[in-house]
Symmetry: C2
Subunit: 365 residues, 2 copies
């Protein structure tokens, strides 16, 4: 349990606040506070712990030797957004990493997850990545998901507990309820680096994001490792909105890219140089061209709902929580069994800067 005085102090320091959304009242930790991770949510007497931070290793061989004394499972890391799905009262709902109740994920969970799981296991929480081109949050999508979204369960937690079920228990639950899981590449030891390097090279060629290592031990230590494809792609996808992200976003990814190449023995080819240059330059050209035509820099998102009210609620959530981004609804229309929502995210920082620069403005730096 979280002590009441701790909650009061967190609220006072604006690290936690009460939320009221979709008929639920709960307390949300908007930042890490002492040992409580960001995204932790308290529904009456039930704590849904925030999904913990997982450290990143930049060097496979040394990193695995350094952190894993025991064998570990290697699972795919899918490039999407992280949710926790569980039952409260009589409803199955999904929280985002930051602890917001997500109307979109909540709306669609029944399309991908057998809800019998929650009826029979009301104390369990599924931790999943939601990825695909038709999601309302992130601009990238694994190329192997052609449309809509998919769910990829990677962990199971218990309510009120901060630990995860063991790998075997998780896998048997996934099997029993035919739940979609992330790909599990197997159980390895830190002596298996050659095999793992090969695996990562293969994932890199297949344009997949990377892997998570999960130690098969009581401590259940974890680490993640990302392909150079994913680092390049992160740059490419976000340059149109370069001012929104902390600039370290870019310098970190370039450094990771180089370390991946270094360890994997990938040669510096003209093609690779070109890809990095292109990742930066093309997005900015797009932003400039869009600004010249439409006087704003934006990206259009599209996602579909079973229930129209959830689409309206998503717009409300995005309006309320977007910083430096203006969210503009384009259309909400019925298509077959779905309500299809289309909206723009206008990148206000980039729009403002390009407006200033392209009209001949001065910058003091």
């Amino acid at each position: 349990m979280i002590d009441v005085s701790l909650v009061r102090e967190a609220i006072k320091q604006r690290k936690a606040r009460s939320e009221s959304f979709l008929g639920f009242e709960y307390l949300r930790f908007s930042d890490d506070y002492k040992d409580i991770p960001r995204g932790t949510a308290v529904f009456q007497d039930t704590i849904i712990w925030g999904y913990p931070h997982i450290g990143r290793i930049f060097m496979l061989e040394k990193g695995l030797k350094e952190h894993f004394k025991n064998p570990f499972w290697v699972e795919e890391k899918v490039d999407g957004y992280n949710v926790r799905i569980f039952k409260v009262r009589d409803r199955v709902i999904a929280l985002s990493r930051g602890g917001y109740l997500c109307p979109f994920t909540t709306d669609r969970v029944g399309d991908f997850i057998d809800l019998k799981f929650f009826e029979e296991n009301p104390d369990l929480i599924l931790c999943a990545e939601v990825a695909g081109p038709d999601n309302p949050y992130i601009e990238e999508s694994p190329p192997f998901i052609r449309e809509d979204i998919k769910f990829f369960v990677f962990d199971v937690m218990k309510k009120n507990q901060q630990t995860f079920l063991k790998q075997e228990e998780k896998l048997s639950l996934l099997e029993r309820y035919s739940l979609p899981g992330v790909e599990v590449f197997g159980r390895f030891t830190s002596g298996d680096t050659e095999k793992l390097k090969e695996l990562l090279l293969k994932l890199n060629k297949e344009k997949r994001e990377g892997v998570v290592f999960k130690e098969d031990s009581e401590e259940n230590r974890r680490a993640k490792y990302i392909t150079s494809y994913a680092n390049l792609n992160d740059i490419k996808v976000t340059t149109k909105n370069m001012l929104q992200l902390p600039p370290e976003y870019y310098t970190n990814r370039i450094l990771r890219l180089v370390l991946f190449m270094e360890e994997e023995g990938i040669n510096r080819t003209e093609h690779l140089y070109e890809e990095l240059g292109r990742a930066f330059i093309d997005g900015l050209f797009d932003a400039i061209e869009q600004f010249k035509k439409e006087h704003k820099v934006y990206r259009t998102f599209r996602c579909k709902f079973r229930n129209k009210d959830n689409a309206v609620a998503l717009m409300e959530l995005l309006h309320r929580t977007s910083k430096h981004i203006q969210v503009i609804e384009r259309e909400l229309k019925q298509e077959g069994e779905f309500w299809v929502l289309t909206f723009d995210k206008v990148f206000l920082n980039m729009t403002g800067l390009l407006g200033h620069l392209l009209s001949g403005g001065l910058v003091f730096d």
Copy 2:
């Protein structure tokens, strides 16, 4: 004059401090404070005003129309470090942009500037760029300077005054004393953008940094404009020490590069993509290789002095003022008429991060 109470307040707020170096005592403004620019120095009753910030335009045509109602001079902007040179008591000394008394520039000024200028004009200050491969401060050097350094005078100020001499007065002084000046491309109006675009394309091909515009009017408005070559080169030269600079350093330059290409009609070629990618990747590979061999990331600097004491004083200044950089002397030896100083700047942030990452360390981001 600067009011005494203002000075007291600036000292209290740590925007100004007294300096004692090379036998001089003076007050140095280490930051902008109210209307007093950073680098302003007060020697007894003489104020040497800091060199003012010059705003940058990103779009030539629109920028010139926006800022210059009158004709303006166009001068080369040389890629070096900015100094102010003047006489105090019986000595000619040089202050850096930040207001430090520079033992290196002070030592060498007589090799490039006819000191009779200061005898006959004790109230004047020469503002110059010092550039070349053998300088102790910056890692880049215009490719047209093959060795040592050169001085490029671009402005003349009067002591105690914040304004500049008029262009004609400046040019006649440069001529009379045969002082080395920056190249003056002529007097233009904002209607001359086609000519200026051609000039900038030419400078870009010649690997020169850019130009400064100086309005031929009482207001003497100014602006600068940089070539894409210089933006690329800034990235290339500094990636080895990527963590030292604010990450906006990189995102700003990429944006400027793209806007330069856009306006100059430079096509996006594979070669250009490749150059940007290479600028980032090669410096980081160098840093990694150097770290693996020598357990530190550093760059070696070399510069030569007339007077050995000045070399010792420079080392003292660098030790005292370098942040996140360890300065290590390698050698100080006589070569003909000169004392040649060689020293390393060890980039502690990059050294620390690579040490952590290459040994398999975790990063939470």
